[in-house]
Structures are given as structure tokens and as C-alpha cells.
Symmetry: C2
Subunit: 231 residues, 2 copies
């Protein structure tokens, strides 16, 4: 009797809904762990099947290929972040406060733990940071976009853009700012860990405080808001 949040995803992402079956959930669970461990390039359905004591054919009954599985995980993540943002900003009316909460939710997505026992959100967050960009950098983007496979991300960007506009109705680039905050969040955690020369922030373990301050500084400065900077 898990509380179970509702994560509704585009049906074209999968051949058979993994959320409906034991095997499906096992696929999600182990794919997250395995992609994190060996990286998306080295990840194969064969290896996944072995690790979860199933067979390649069974995995192929749920996902067309590993790219679709990645797309599924990415959509799941954005849907989940949307959910977190919604519950955290539910009773907040001040849009500036909302933006602050959005930023901290984004950065600390890994810390939250909803009752979806087959998804390790902390590991999924790492996958998003390391592999997320690959979901939309393919020759099939246009078709996939046509099929609505990126709607979750689009809606989230939309939502944040609305907050931006309610802070500064004349801000000329609300979606750009919104998506940039998302991209920066993941990028600069990655840079801090692997290419420290091209960022100024540091992370130790899963403490992303400096990333949060940095995003607030960028977002707030862009909107002409005072930056607290008390850190």
C-alpha cells in the first residue's frame, strides 16, 4: 500500500507500460542503476537482462531500444520535478519566492524521496546530469518532438516561464531563462565534478549548495532582483 505518486507518461515512450508489471518496474529500477554504473554508451539490453536475471527478449517487449528507455527515464524525471515543484509552491503566492523554490527543488531533486520504490531518485538525478542531454541530441528529435516525447520538459519550462513573467511581465526571454536554469543546473554540477576549470562552483558529494546560490544569482540578476548572497 505505497502512497504512489502518479507519473503519467506519453504512451509512445514504451511498447508496454513498465509501471504496470513487476518485470516492467524491475527494468526501470535496474536500468537506472546500470546506466549510472557503466554509462549509457556501454549500457545494453543484454547486460541489463543479465543483471536483473531476465532475458534480452523480455526487455525488448517493453522498450523499442535503449534510446527510448533513456527518453522514458528523462521524461519520468521531469515529470517528477514538476510534481515536486507543484507541491512545494502550492501555497506560495509571491512569484519571487516561487522562483527560489523552483531553483532549490531543481538542485536538490536527488534528496527528495517519494514513494516510488522502483526508482532511486538520487541515482536518476546523476543519470540526468551525465546523460540527459543525449535524450534530445539525435537525428530523430523532430519526429520524437512531433510525437510529444518532450512534452514533460516543455511544460515544465512553460511553468517556470510563467513565473518569470509574473515577476517581470516584459522580460523578453522567459523560456530561454527557464530552460537555461535547468540546463545550467545539470551542466554545472557535471562541470564541477569533471571539468572544474569551466565553472566556478564546487560540489562535494551530493551537496549542491554552491550550484543553488549560483543559479539564484544568475536568475535573480537577469530579472533585476536583489541577490541575497549570504553564504
Amino acid at each position: 500500500m505505497a502512497i504512489g505518486i502518479q507519473i503519467t507518461l506519453n504512451e509512445r515512450l514504451f511498447l508496454r507500460d513498465p509501471q504496470n508489471t513487476v518485470l516492467g518496474k524491475k527494468i526501470i529500477k535496474h536500468s537506472i542503476l546500470l546506466i549510472d554504473e557503466i554509462g549509457f554508451e556501454a549500457f545494453t539490453f543484454k547486460k541489463l537482462a543479465i543483471q536483473m536475471s531476465s532475458t534480452e527478449a523480455s526487455v525488448y517487449r517493453y522498450f523499442e531500444n535503449k534510446h527510448m528507455l533513456l527518453l522514458y527515464l528523462v521524461s519520468w524525471f521531469w515529470e517528477w520535478v514538476t510534481y515536486l515543484i507543484d507541491i512545494h509552491t502550492m501555497n506560495i503566492s509571491d512569484p519571487v519566492q516561487k522562483l527560489k523554490i523552483i531553483i532549490s527543488t531543481l538542485v536538490f531533486a536527488s534528496k527528495e524521496n517519494p514513494s516510488v520504490e522502483y526508482v532511486n531518485e538520487s541515482v536518476l538525478h546523476r543519470i540526468m546530469i551525465a546523460e540527459g542531454a543525449k535524450a534530445y541530441h539525435t537525428k530523430a528529435v523532430d519526429d520524437e518532438n512531433q510525437d510529444g516525447l518532450f512534452l514533460n520538459y516543455q511544460h515544465l519550462v512553460d511553468k517556470v516561464a510563467q513565473v518569470v513573467l509574473s515577476i517581470r511581465p516584459n522580460f523578453p526571454y522567459p523560456r530561454t531563462l527557464a530552460s537555461n536554469l535547468f540546463e545550467m543546473a545539470n551542466n554545472h554540477i557535471y562541470f564541477a565534478l569533471h571539468l572544474p576549470h569551466i565553472t566556478d562552483v564546487h560540489v562535494q558529494g551530493e551537496s549542491y549548495d554552491e550550484v543553488e546560490s549560483m543559479l539564484e544569482y544568475f536568475g535573480f540578476t537577469m530579472l533585476g532582483l536583489p541577490t541575497s548572497d549570504t553564504r
Copy 2:
């Protein structure tokens, strides 16, 4: 008697320097065209060999694998952008003007045509936009960074960060701003072309004027500079 700019790259990027031989240059030339055409995932050394009327084995004598070839192209691109920025800012002393030139160089990299006959810069720019991020999103980043395979990009970020600091000596995130401008430039061209919902800019053909204005707006606003916005 080509004028021939000097593009010096880390020797670990290749097994044999492609710039030194006819076959090497052919590999660079055709790999750029083929990656652009079919995408990096579908690109193989076999297909490349066929397209350039050579053999798989010959290509493998120059590059360890296609990932190293991509790394080579990415390094080449950043080295070339660095060169362009250097010649364009050579006689400019005002750092604000310098930043402006950096941004426009970045965005219009595809338009410039130095005398490197085997590199189609316009197509390479497209590859950077579509595939560039894959160069550093791998499990081997740390080793490759250790080997200095990302130094070109790092140095360029460094250079821009210095300009940022000469405009605002106390700006807390000079490298972050610099790398973000680079990432945004490519990302938002890509978004405009493929995921228009998550950006505000538009591009038609290879006209990136709106991207340039947007980057100026972001960069200048972050540094507390007036934005011209006359467009």
C-alpha cells in the same frame, strides 16, 4: 599556396596526425560531412571508409575510435573559434566591445572561412550544435581531462572569463558566465531548430541574429551593462 592557419591539437587525440597526410585530411573532411548527414550515433568508420573510397583499417590508423574523432573535431572547432576571437579583438582595448565581438564570433563561426580547405566550417558548426555535448559526456571524461583533451575549450573559457573580469573585477562567476555563453549559443540554436517551445529565439537558415541579441542581453545584464536592444 593556401594561407593555412595553424591549428595545434593535443597529440593524444589521434594515433597519426591527420593534418600531415592526404588521407588524414580526407578523413577529417568526409567525417564532418558524414556525421552531419547521418548523425554521430549512426556514423561508423566503415561507412566513412566507403564514402571516401578508403578502408576501415586505414581510418583506424588515424583514430582509435569514433569518439576520439569527435573529440578531435570539437577541439579543432574551439581552437578555430579562439583564433577568430584573437584576430577580431586584436586591436580592441574596451573589454565591453571585446565581449560583444566574442559573442558575435561565437554565433557566426559558421560564416567565416579560413583557408583550411579540408574543413567545412559551416558544417562543423552544425556538428558542434548537434553533437558537441557528447564529446564530454562519457565515462572517460576524467581520464580524458587528465590527458588534456579539453584544454582548448578550457583556455577559451579562461580567455572570456578574463574579459568578464576586466569588465567587472568582482563578478563572482566569471567562468560560469563564460562557459554558459558558449553552451547557450549552441543550445539555443539547436532548440530554435528542433525544440522551439523551450526557447524564445528563432533562426531561419543560418541567420542567428536573434541568438546573438539574446546572448548579448544575457551577458550584458549579468554584468550590469546597458543592453542596446535596438533590433
